[in-house]
Amino acid sequence: MSFAFAHPWALLLALLAIIPLYKSGQKMLTYSCLALLPEDNLSLWIDRGLRFLAGLAALLLALGIAEPYLREQWVEKTGTGAHIVLLVDRSSSMNENFSGTYLGGTAHESKSALASKLMVEFIDRRKHDFFALVAFSATPIYVLPLTQDHEAVRSAVLALGGRGHGITNIAPGLAMALGHFSGQPVTGSRIVLLVSDGAARMEPEIAEALRQQFQDNQTALYWIYLRNPKGGKLTEAPKNPNESTTPEYYLHQYFHSLGVPYQAFEADNTKALQEAIAKVESLENRPLTYREKLPRQDLSGLCYGSALICWIGLLAFQSLEVKAWNI
């Protein structure tokens, strides 16, 4: 439990807490002879209590200003579930709908928006899985490491539903996605879930390196191919095979040759996309120990809150104050 202050100098203000112990700040009334008044223990203890409360309130305020916090911490967590890296295409073609019409950045029926929506549903259903997120277009973007914090993953995926830019460059994305697994002991089934609407030619050396990584990390690959209805199917060889015009077919072939479990789902409409995602959802799990970082916790609110409680007590008695002998 590590504890620190954002503004330690403000602790000097705590010295002011001495003042209410000596000064009440109340309007003083003159009474001719105190010796004649009977002793009253209740008044005595209320007086002490109020002085103490006022001092405490000042102390808590000083503490609040000093902003105490618990430092960020690493906690060990054990989770069960598949480790899924979502590798999501953010190229400009994702802004289109399934018929190939450009819908603009904010359209809800664009492929990226739909994919985001369905992925969120998928994430919501898989409570025990770990997710990582990599977005890619021309270059990959590291979004989230493997985590069970579904709230963070959800938000990140939803954020991807916006407008995409650039071309589809799949190889660096795959490399980064696999990077999440490399050097880690195998503790659960590993999946790279590639969501894209196209592919690009891959240099043979890079293809070889990726193949090696897939095999080393024992990672399964699922490809949800958001196919344009006019585009070529993955399973049918195109009429004039060429890696520049129909890279999807060649990519499909390459994935088959990886030597790891691979499955492609062609989704050329919303319903097919839903089905494709439903299929991915049947994977066995093994427990995994991992470390999660907890952000630092601000405790100043607690201080202000307790000071407020003290104040309520003080205010109650202030409202009862006799300001003048009302005779």
Binding site: Y31, S32, C33, L34, I46, L320, V322
Partner: protein, 280 residues
């Protein structure tokens, strides 16, 4: 101009030789029969008593002798310690000024000389009057008394003033709230033992009767500077009232032991009540 006036009456004989209102010890012109004396010792044929002469076997000439009525000095000793600065239903200094005016005026009407000693830790000569025949209160003094802000933390000047009252027995109005220890009171009465002391207890109902029913008050004693915070509530008010009733009893006892019951002057001065006090 009307003044509040009361009548006072003393149950003892005035020692003074000045003709006045009160029964005296000197023989002279008057209506109070003192006795029969031989004509030779008081050769005034107007007072020859034929009946007494016939009854006298020696057939001496006898005259009736009468006692002359006399004046007494009337003093007012005022406590001006800080506790007299209390302002409740009325300002205590205001009540004091009112009472002093009434005493001065009544003394004049009775034909007695009046003297005033206002005392805090010493005698305040600026607020005092030497013993003279004044026609009522000296102008302006009443206002000055009323406007005075008592600050001293004791009333020891009263003891000093007691030594200045002279040897002749006088009527002394001792005006104070008597918020000082009973031992000090005893000492004061002892130093005034020669005189007829009328203790006037100046209290305010705001001190014990009319306190706020409910509230949180911080109070300070102007004499000791001591502070206390009080949670005023009906139970505590009841105890304060009981404490004052007890105090009243204590004061009455100690005053009765030294001659007279105290006159309690609370909130307002009623001259008729003062008259009743003397004649009851």
């Amino acid at each position: 101009m009307t003044f509040e006036e009361f009548h006072y009456h003393i149950p003892w004989r005035a020692l003074g030789s000045h003709p006045g209102h009160h029964t005296g010890v000197q023989s002279g012109g008057g209506f109070e029969f003192q006795g029969l004396v031989p004509f030779t010792s008081q050769p005034d044929p107007r007072y020859l008593d034929i009946r007494a002469m016939i009854a006298d076997p020696m057939q001496q000439l006898m005259v009736k002798s009468f006692r002359q009525r006399a004046t007494i000095p009337v003093y007012l000793l005022a406590d001006l310690s800080a506790s007299m600065g209390f302002v409740g239903k009325a300002a205590k200094t205001g009540l004091l000024a009112e009472l002093a005016t009434a005493v001065a005026w009544s003394a004049w009407r009775t034909g007695d000389p009046f003297g005033l000693y206002a005392c805090d830790s010493q005698i305040r000569l600026d607020l005092s009057l030497p013993l003279r025949l004044y026609k009522g209160m000296v102008s302006g003094l009443s206002e000055r008394l009323r406007a005075f802000h008592p600050k001293s933390n004791n009333a020891l000047g009263l003891l000093e003033a007691a030594t200045l009252l002279g040897r002749q027995r006088s009527l002394v109005f001792l005006v104070s709230d008597f918020h000082f220890p009973l031992s000090q009171m005893e000492e004061l009465f002892n130093s005034l033992v020669r005189h007829d002391v009328v203790p006037v207890v100046l209290w305010d109902s705001g001190e014990y009767e009319n306190l706020p029913r409910f509230g949180w008050a911080e109070v300070q004693d102007p004499e000791t500077g001591q502070r206390r915070r009080l949670f005023l509530r009906p139970g505590l008010l009841q105890r304060i009232r009981e404490r004052f009733a007890e105090r009243k009893e204590e004061l009455t006892q100690i005053c009765v032991r030294h001659g007279r019951e105290p006159f309690f002057l609370v909130d307002r001065f009623d001259p008729d009540a003062m008259t009743r006090y003397f004649y009851q």
